[in-house]
Subunit: 156 residues, 2 copies
Amino acid sequence: MNQIVEACQRFYLEDLQVGQRFTSDCCHMNEDRIKAFAAEFDPQPFHLDHAASRTTVFGGLAASGWHTAAVAMRLLVTGGLPLAHGIIGLGCELEWAKPTRPGDTLRVETEVLEVLPSRSKPNQGVVRVRSTTFNQDGESVQVFKGKVLGFRRQAT
Amino acid sequence: MNQIVEACQRFYLEDLQVGQRFTSDCCHMNEDRIKAFAAEFDPQPFHLDHAASRTTVFGGLAASGWHTAAVAMRLLVTGGLPLAHGIIGLGCELEWAKPTRPGDTLRVETEVLEVLPSRSKPNQGVVRVRSTTFNQDGESVQVFKGKVLGFRRQAT
């Protein structure tokens, strides 16, 4: 079941069910932005320079995995995971299955794995999700399995 | 044992041992940069706006967890984890124990947890590390447990 989300619809803890799926918009990975992100946060040759990247295990220019992760977050926040009160992560597992390349177009598909109401905080709970980031060829470039906060409708 | 690393010293797979520790430089978390990162990758009120953040679970402006992760990567790449041929992550677990706040100064301490030579690729191996990011008060803001590639000295 792929959830059809109306604009502005936001999901509270009691609206979420195991197996529920959400799909994000797309994001184009611009080469200049890949290099700029790398220059600031991950200044390694395979993220910065075509020629230098060819002799590395990447075999060509690749985005930093942290850039892929950050773009996936943007896609979740801008509609890919429409949680009421936002997306607040507690922790996660990340796997980078394939590099993200300049010119790739990414989208994120999310599945709800578990919904755990809090015993101590009646307004809150933890939602376990798996968010897979795909490129334009349907190849997985990142799998994020994370715990995020969920809020009940009556939460202030 | 905290490794004293000479400038330009780079560690190959055979130089790494379980329990070896490395310490990064520091990075100051500027409020403007926190907001700019959030505007691009994690546009949520608690990362963008002081007033709006006060009524959230953060209780004040907080950096995106992905910003903390990206800065930790910069600190690893710029000396905090001096691996020969760079830091190439295969996957990781991340936990955000506390928010990073504007004005925080972060540093990363890394411990080698496991060194696993590859059976199929004689020049390579996998290194499991735990990198804890601390703020200026010695509080952990992020724990990264990751698998990164290691290369043998004879690798071309």
